[in-house]
């Protein structure tokens, strides 16, 4: 995370707590303050590991399943580092992605192809491409940093009995696949409950719904279910997460190119 921006924004939050300035808070300031609070509440997780099952469904209802293990390392002052290792389908078993994500500039990303034993740097300018044939784009699964968007608070709304802030955010990355996203943020826990994505033509594209949130280490909320529906193609992808572990002792050396080759 960028501390300068955070500090400036924190100042904005502090000021906004004062009664006379509350009136002056613009929708943009309030949107940013919500994003900052959400980010703050997820700070300090250190590292995490989890298993994910990704089920792809097409318009006809045919399904295809991938099993993926994901390791994440929190990076203070920048986007997180992550490693995704495929277990299924069997023909891509051992295929792995190493990503150093960044807020504004392109990510650094390497793909390991086990049959060729080849580590291939990927041209990751395009974060809008689909992740392994799913309805999730690379930018959807990348770590969410404050500087990745500008924000605007829209309204309060009750979503399925949950009190939420509805905010709109606009990607700062110029090659993003979206013009805007509308996010329903849980007022109590500051976690996303739903995100609606609009494509480059500002047409409704996808809806992501979070379900079965679990809390870890008395602080960090992770959804066990993430359902992404593409309204333009009728296809959908469900992510089912389990076996979450935090602060497992991973470090930089578990997220380099040599460890990518050993990922298995």
């Amino acid at each position: 995370m960028n501390h300068r921006i955070v500090n400036a924004a924190m100042l904005a939050v502090t000021i906004s707590l004062l009664p006379f300035s509350t009136m002056a808070e613009t929708p943009e300031e309030k949107g940013l303050a919500i994003a900052i609070e959400a980010d703050k509440r997820d700070e300090g997780f250190g590292d995490s590991t989890a298993n994910m099952i990704m089920e792809l469904k097409n318009k006809q209802g045919d399904t295809s399943t991938r099993y993926i293990r994901i390791k994440t390392l929190e990076v203070i002052g920048d986007g997180d580092k992550s490693m995704s290792i495929f277990d299924k389908p069997a023909d891509v078993k051992g295929t792995a992605f190493l990503t150093y994500s960044h807020a504004i500039k392109p990510d650094e990303q390497w793909l390991y192809l086990p049959a060729l034993k080849r580590v291939k740097r990927i041209n990751s300018k395009n974060k809008s491409g689909p992740f392994m044939g799913s309805e999730f784009a690379y930018e959807d699964i990348a770590s969410q940093e404050i500087e990745k968007y500008t924000y605007k608070y829209l309204r309060d709304e009750t979503l399925n009995g949950i009190d939420t802030f509805v905010i709109e955010r606009y990607p700062a990355y110029k090659h993003s696949g979206y013009t805007r996203q509308v996010v329903w943020v849980n007022k109590e826990e500051y976690r996303p409950e739903k995100i609606v994505f609009y494509d480059r033509k500002n047409t409704l594209l996808k809806t992501l719904t979070y379900g079965d949130y679990q809390q870890y280490l008395d602080q960090y909320w992770r959804a066990d279910q993430m359902f992404m529906e593409n309204h333009q193609t009728g296809k959908s992808t469900t992510l089912t997460w389990d076996n979450y572990n935090f602060k497992t002792g991973l470090s930089d050396k578990d997220f380099n190119r040599n460890s990518l080759k050993r990922a298995k």
């Binding site: 392109p106 395009n126 298995k264």
Partner: protein, 404 residues
């Protein structure tokens, strides 16, 4: 070395499963290869069936800081005795000690960035009977020490046990018109012969959108330096040859840079011969080009990539097809659930206008099957050039593999 593997293998079986990750994976596949014209040599055939299997065992312990990996390969070919062959692709132990990694045993490494020719990639010998594209490699005995630091990766290799290149047999197809005899002893034009221990080192690093590698190899050249005739026809033309291997020093450089949707790539090698008839002579070879990706070109999720690579070599034009050639290819990636991809391209010789074309396509069927198709054609070949032997060898190939 052998004892180490056996004890590791036993150790991995005897250790309680709960503290270890052990697994089996791999594939079995069937292949059909069909030729569009009759062969040059009546001993060759028009259709070939073959089957292959590649089971792999992987086991890790010590909090995955140590691992054992074994991968065996075997293929049975209907006609080609040389293509009916087995290989230990992998039989290695890997240990991680902080920022250092040690690997001992039979293994494989890949170096380089180019798509249509792998110049700097020298550690493993090519398993040429598998496919004419030379992408398949034989397992290489090695001790590798590697460290990754803020300033890059350095790999050191000690490579005992030279592997000879595989070539199609008398009934194999496609193959050069002259049969390359791999059953007789190959010729080593230096005293230590196959027992020579090769050495290699590689440094690689990236700075932002730039990535580069420097490599040096000293040992037995993987490519035969010459072929010596051992049998002749009535007119005195050679019909059978044996490969000659020589000592070389080879320096290599590879790099790529990303500019938006463009990826620029370069590989170059300088080879110095240290033994035999070519002792003291040098060869320079390079491949340079780009890949441009048109993301979402059908307005949806698929990508179209344009690959252009120019190949140069100062070697004798009889010895290499990549002397002054342009490779152009289209890569279509559907980004669908079946991971469907098609690669279609040409290799064109700037002087002779010889064109060899290829189509490679693959898709997943269900969860466990992969169907691959391949088409290769050769046209405008000239006498005295390496592809002349392949002038009637246009072929299509279908592979169906089951992965477990």
């Amino acid at each position: 070395m052998k004892r180490l593997f056996i004890s590791l293998l036993l150790g991995s079986i005897l250790l309680p499963a709960s503290t270890n990750a052990a697994e089996w994976l791999g594939y079995v596949s069937g292949q059909f290869r069909g030729f569009l014209e009759d062969p040059l040599d009546p001993r060759q055939h028009n259709t070939y069936l073959s089957a292959a299997a590649e089971p792999e065992f992987y086991h890790s312990w010590d909090d995955i800081n140590q691992s054992f990996n074994a991968k065996l390969f075997y293929r049975i070919d209907q006609y080609d005795d040389n293509r009916t062959h087995g290989d230990i692709r992998e039989l290695s132990w890997t240990g991680v000690f902080d920022y250092f990694e040690v690997r001992a045993g039979i293994s494989k490494v890949f170096w380089g960035v180019a798509e249509t020719q792998h110049l700097v990639d020298i550690i493993n010998q090519t398993d040429l009977v598998e496919n004419v594209d030379g992408e398949d490699k034989l397992g290489q005995p090695m001790v590798k020490l590697s460290t990754e630091q803020d300033w890059g990766i350095i790999d050191f290799f000690v490579l005992p046990g030279f592997r000879e290149r595989t070539f199609p047999g008398v009934e194999g197809r496609p193959r050069p018109n002259v049969v390359i005899d791999t059953d007789s002893d190959a010729i080593y034009d230096f005293s230590s012969g196959q027992d020579h221990v090769d050495l290699a080192v590689r440094y690689s690093h990236y700075i932002g959108e730039w990535e580069f590698g420097l490599s040096y190899f000293s040992g037995i050249g993987r490519e035969p330096s010459d072929f010596v005739p051992t049998a002749f026809d009535a007119s005195g033309q050679p019909t059978v040859v044996v490969p000659v291997y020589s000592l070389i020093n080879q320096a290599g450089i590879d790099g790529q840079a990303f500019f938006g949707d463009w990826t620029w790539k370069l590989e170059a090698i300088n080879t110095e011969f240290r033994s035999g008839a070519r002792k003291g002579s040098h060869n320079f070879q390079s491949v340079f080009g780009f890949e441009y990706t048109w993301v979402g070109f059908t307005g949806a999720v698929s990508d179209l990539g344009f690959v252009v690579e120019y190949h140069y070599s100062d070697r004798n034009k009889r010895e290499t097809i990549f002397d002054n050639d342009l490779a152009t290819a289209l890569r279509y990636v559907m980004n669908d659930a079946q991971s469907t991809e098609v690669l279609f391209g040409f290799l064109t010789d700037a002087e002779t206008y010889t064109i060899s074309s290829f189509i490679e396509a693959s898709t997943r069927l269900g969860e466990s099957w992969v169907l691959e198709g391949e088409l290769r054609t050769y046209s405008g070949t000239e006498e005295g050039r390496p592809l002349f032997s392949y002038r009637f060898d246009n072929f299509a190939q279908v592979d169906l593999a089951y992965y477990f």
